[in-house]
């Protein structure tokens, strides 16, 4: 029964995937109820919904065959604080009359379950976040990205001229370390489709970057924060090894450019007064990214895994972090670890939820 949705309600963002069937027969068209039609039209004919909902058109997967049906997969996101409005809309469009199941994952599946029932007259089918994530990753990677590779890595990540984004074949993915960077971070060791464990997590994630940026710079969107960061210079804010030792700290094999103390220069009043908001945004981004890289690297070593796949919406339009992760992992592991990325960054949970729906049907 259409419509096919997968919903992932995170701490900051709601991710929605929608399968738009393209092989609808005339009879089906005939039988399709008005409500369903209007939902399909609404979603596919717009790229923005309300003031905050956005369809990531560039991520759309075309001519996908799913459960014997051909169609396009659409990727939509909106802030979690607009969840009540979303439920309200569902109610206005009489979603419940379609007698379909809505599969949802993420913390919000629990938090908003009651609201869905009372406001939208909808019974959510809650599915586990980590199951969905892994399912989603494996599925999207297997179908590819409209003929291109879903998975990629960076060559020469720190060299502006020579840095290249190259496809990576994830055909034999196991074992892999999956680092999901949303508001917070979860790190999973995946040994097979069913066999995985959550190794650890950290509260220093995308939410921390954005939250600190709001406080430090007064910015109001993630995009704005990233844009400021791209223009800043974190070395004015951070204390580097060379600021303390005049160069490399050879006793410990630490290069002079390494950050010795994040925000360490900000202990001095004069330096606090001389940095720009852009510098602060950049330092925040570098601090959070390096820390995630460092924890991921330690987990990879402890779990004896050398491929690390980074996903999550923190990486959306965030080449600075991706290149830094790629470099840091390679440098500190002396070439032993490889950082990998996926084109559909933050949508795997939602894809997994959609797949759960189809499996259960």
């Amino acid at each position: 029964v259409f419509p096919w949705f997968g919903l992932d309600i995170g701490g900051t963002l709601v991710k929605l995937v929608y399968f738009e069937p393209k092989d609808i027969t005339a009879e089906e068209e005939e039988e399709e109820v008005e409500n369903l039609k209007s939902i399909r039209k609404y979603l596919t004919s717009n790229v923005a919904y309300g003031s905050t909902g956005i369809r990531d058109v560039h991520l759309e997967l075309k001519d996908l065959t799913l459960c014997g049906r051909k169609g396009n997969l659409h990727f939509i996101r909106f802030p979690t604080h607009d969840m009540p409005a979303f439920i309200q809309m569902g109610s206005e469009k009489h979603f419940s009359s379609l007698h379909t199941t809505l599969c949802a994952t993420g913390g919000g599946a629990y938090k908003f379950e009651q609201d869905f029932r009372t406001m939208g007259d909808l019974q959510l089918c809650k599915v586990d976040e980590l199951d969905c994530l892994i399912k989603g990753v494996l599925y999207i990677d297997s179908v590819g990205f409209n003929g291109h590779s879903e998975c990629y890595y960076f060559e020469n990540p720190t060299d502006a001229e020579r840095c290249q984004k190259l496809p990576f074949n994830l055909e034999n993915p196991y074992p892999l370390l999956l680092v999901n960077i949303g508001s917070g971070v979860s790190i999973l060791a995946v040994y097979s489709k069913e066999n995985y464990k959550r190794v650890t997590g950290t509260s220093l994630g995308g939410g921390t970057f954005f939250g600190l940026c709001c406080l430090l710079t007064g910015c109001s969107t993630f995009e704005e924060a990233l844009e400021m960061a791209s223009r800043g210079d974190s070395t004015k804010v951070d204390k580097l090894v060379r600021d303390i030792y005049g160069g490399d700290y050879e006793r410990f094999g630490l290069p002079g450019w390494a950050v010795a103390s994040s925000f360490g220069n900000m202990m001095s009043k004069e330096k606090r007064e001389s940095v720009s908001k852009e510098d602060l945004a950049k330092a925040t981004l570098i601090t959070i990214t390096n820390n995630i890289g460092s924890i991921a690297r330690m987990c990879a070593l402890n779990e004896n895994i050398n491929r690390v796949v980074f996903v999550g919406n923190f990486l959306r339009i965030n080449t600075i972090s991706m290149r830094l992760l790629a470099y840091a992992l390679d440098y500190w592991s002396k070439g032993q670890l490889k950082a990998l990325f996926l084109e559909h960054e933050g949508y795997f949970g939602a894809v997994g939820a959609l797949l759960e729906l189809l499996d259960s049907a």
Binding site: E113, D128, L130, S183, S203, C214, R251, F252, S261, N265
Partner: protein, 731 residues
């Protein structure tokens, strides 16, 4: 350092020691002469001093050094830390010495090894919500390997494997500098301490996104509690809301502490280590950060790893720099002891913990360590040196006992001071010094009332030792020397008649009389107020009177029958090690007849007495004279001495109690050589306050008379109750 200077210097300290010397008795009227000569001599001992003060006083400090620098050979001064660069020129100009900069981390680790090896109760775990916030750890005989996590402006994680082998295995840029720098930006608060103050008043839940904010409750499948932080600063992702400084500081503190704890656990796991010591300015003396780091380590290691802290963490770099400079003198070949009289307690400069000390001087703190004449080691017979705890009652834990003993020591103080002054009748300034001693010890007791954890676990032993240290500080090396001299003389005169009456008894009766004699001898303890009152007022109180005071059998702790059975049925012991207690009747009429019986059975005896004086305890040098005199009267003792079947050794200690993990190396060697299979520990200090629960690899006898009614009451008995504890290790 960034704000504090830590100075280490070595000095020789001239202080008075009591010496005893045998007279040449030939042709003299032995009857009316004292047994031996007592003299007070000047002795020079080595001491390490460490002081800590604010950098603003550095010039005053340099002037002080210039005035007191006695060794004109000195050409260099070792320095480490950030300030070594900052103050280099000033130091060189003022002192005319070349500044030799030493690597920070090397110094830190050298210092760390030094305190771990030499200071009992150096290490503690911090538990905010328990009655005793500071849980001191027993020193493990092997301190390696360990992880040192130094949280300065950044974080360094170092794995230390041996004295000279250590490796930087990782670090993090998110450290104290991040808390300070980012905190200053967020809250416009400039000082580190003020930021911590703010943090301790804040609510992080207003700023952080918790698991329950995302899930509406706990994340059940993963067992993540709803109160867990899902995203630090995750609620501040908005431009329109104001957040309080306190809340932001708290959130930042949690974020940084959790992150450091997580990384430390990951490194500990990778390198298979379970001891992590934390240091650096982020930790130093701050209960707030010790608490958050401890929480984080517990959380991330699921309780498998313990976060540990060091009492003298702030001094590590200075100690290490000093050790580097003193390498040719090899300070590590010696054992050192913390001098309680000259050291500030833990947290003495923390305004949170020590409001009453605040008025004195902001951050002045000191540590003194005496170089011990001989190296100290474990008794080889300890069953498990890593879990051995000398002290029976932990007064930091036991509030009732703490109150009692502190009061008890307070009440005895006037008497002790009076006796100290009286012990030096020829010295004009003795009363003045005695008063200074009284004040110093009184102040220590008040500090301990407020902060029982100031010098590690508070115990009766530490209270006694602190008193001895304070007495020595004011040149009262041996207030009981004359009392001991007199009592030894009197007891010697009775020796032969005691032996005669013992020899007239049948075997079984004699065994009992010997034990009773040993116990009666132990009544003569000037450290116990109940006894010293009697001894002061009844000079005729003697051996027989003491016997009549003893509890009748069955004793409070009574395994005498098993002991008798053992003597009757078993083969003679190969060698017995006896820790003696008091001078006079105790050693001469109690211990020696017992020793004589053991020797007659074919058992060799090692008689161990204190190296230095404590109360009326017999010292090693006194024991030599006493033994010589007994040998002159008694052929059994004489031949045993000649054939080296009776050996006199020193314990290495100057305490009325006994720490079996810090004993003279010579004693330990002998114990092993002679295949010692029986240990006898005598007296309240050595067998009750300490070692009551000590487990040994061989048979042991612990005997004492309880000369304190409160303690007797606690153990379920009355004053002069007897403890006779014979133990055989389980096979």
């Amino acid at each position: 350092g960034g704000s504090l200077t830590k100075l280490a210097y070595y000095s020789t300290v001239q202080h008075k020691v009591a010496r005893v010397r045998s007279f040449d008795h030939s042709g003299k009227d032995i009857e009316n002469e004292p047994l031996y000569e007592i003299s007070v001599q000047e002795e020079i001992t080595a001491r390490l001093h460490f002081i800590k003060f604010e950098n603003t006083y550095i010039e005053t400090c340099l002037d002080f050094i210039k005035d007191h620098l006695v060794n004109t050979e000195t050409k260099v001064i070792k320095a480490t830390g950030g300030g070594a660069y900052k103050f280099k020129d000033l130091i060189e100009k003022k002192l005319g010495l070349k500044v030799d900069k030493e690597d920070v981390m090397t110094c830190l680790i050298k210092g760390c090894n030094f305190v771990l090896r030499n200071i009992p109760h150096e290490v503690f775990a911090y538990q905010k919500d328990s009655d005793t916030e500071f849980r001191f750890q027993t020193n493990h005989p092997n301190i390696f390997p360990y992880l040192l996590v130094n949280i300065g402006s950044g974080v360094s994680i170092v794995k230390v494997e041996t004295e000279d082998k250590f490796e930087w295995i990782g670090g993090s840029s998110i450290g104290g500098g991040t808390f300070w720098g980012l905190g200053a930006l967020l809250t416009k608060t400039k000082k580190f301490d003020e930021l911590l103050q703010l943090a301790s008043k804040g609510q992080h839940t207003n700023v952080d996104m918790l698991v329950k904010d995302v899930y509406g409750g706990a994340y059940q499948t993963l067992g993540l509690s709803g109160n867990l932080i899902a995203s630090s600063f995750g609620k501040s992702t908005t431009a329109d809301k104001e957040f309080s400084k306190e809340d932001m500081a708290k959130s930042l503190l949690h974020m940084i502490s959790n992150d450091i704890g997580q990384l430390a656990c990951l490194y500990a796991k990778l390198h298979n280590l379970d001891k992590i010591y934390f240091g650096g300015f982020f930790i130093r003396g701050h209960p707030v950060t010790m608490r958050t780091i401890t929480y984080s380590i517990n959380f991330f290691s699921k309780g498998e790893v313990q976060a540990l802290f060091l009492r003298h963490e702030g001094y590590l770099g200075a100690i290490g720099a000093f050790l580097k400079g003193a390498e040719q003198d090899n300070p590590n070949q010696y054992s050192w002891g913390e001098n309680y009289a000259g050291s500030s307690g833990l947290m003495s400069t923390s305004p949170d913990v020590y409001p009453m000390q605040r008025s004195r001087s902001g951050t002045f703190d000191m540590l003194e360590m005496d170089r011990l004449e001989r190296p100290l080691v474990n008794l080889p017979l300890l069953k498990d040196p890593s879990t051995y705890i000398p002290d029976t009652v932990d007064l930091t834990d036991d509030a009732l006992a703490r109150k009692y003993w502190l009061t008890c020591f307070e009440e005895a103080l006037d008497g002790v001071a009076k006796r100290a002054a009286a012990s030096q009748p020829d010295s004009v300034d003795a009363p003045e010094r005695a008063e200074k001693f009284r004040q110093k010890y009184w102040n220590k007791l008040q500090t301990l009332r407020q902060q029982p954890f100031a010098y590690g676990t508070l115990t009766v032993r530490s209270l006694l030792d602190t008193r001895e240290h304070c007495l020595n500080e004011f040149n009262f090396p041996d207030p009981y020397s004359k009392v001991k001299q007199k009592e030894n003389g009197i007891a010697l005169k009775c020796f032969q008649s005691v032996i005669e009456s013992l020899d007239s008894l049948g075997w079984e009766e004699r065994q009992f009389a010997l034990v009773k004699g040993l116990l009666a001898g132990n009544v003569f303890d000037w450290g116990a107020k109940a006894v010293s009152d009697v001894l002061e007022s009844e000079p005729q109180f003697g051996f027989e009177e003491a016997k009549s005071k003893l509890q009748e059998r069955p004793w409070l702790e009574d395994s005498y029958s098993q002991w008798l059975e053992r003597l009757k049925e078993g083969p003679p012991h190969k060698c017995a090690l006896i820790f003696a207690d008091n001078s006079g009747i105790d050693i001469i009429l109690g211990v020696f007849p017992f020793v004589r019986e053991l020797l007659s059975r074919g058992t060799e005896v090692i008689l161990a007495c204190n190296s230095g004086p404590a109360l009326n305890d017999v010292t090693y040098s006194e024991s030599l004279i006493v033994t010589e005199r007994i040998a002159a009267m008694d052929p059994v003792i004489q031949s045993a001495l000649r054939e080296e079947k009776l050996l006199l050794v020193q314990t290495g200690s100057s305490s009325p109690c006994l720490d079996l993990s810090r004993l003279d190396k010579g004693l330990a060697v002998l114990v092993r050589e002679r295949q010692t299979d029986l240990v006898i520990i005598e007296g309240m200090g050595r067998a009750i306050h300490t070692n009551y629960y000590a487990a040994l690899n061989c048979e042991s006898l612990k005997l004492a008379v309880i000369k304190n009614s409160w303690l007797a009451d606690r153990l379920g008995g009355k004053i002069f109750s007897v403890i006779f504890k014979y133990e055989v290790p389980c096979k």
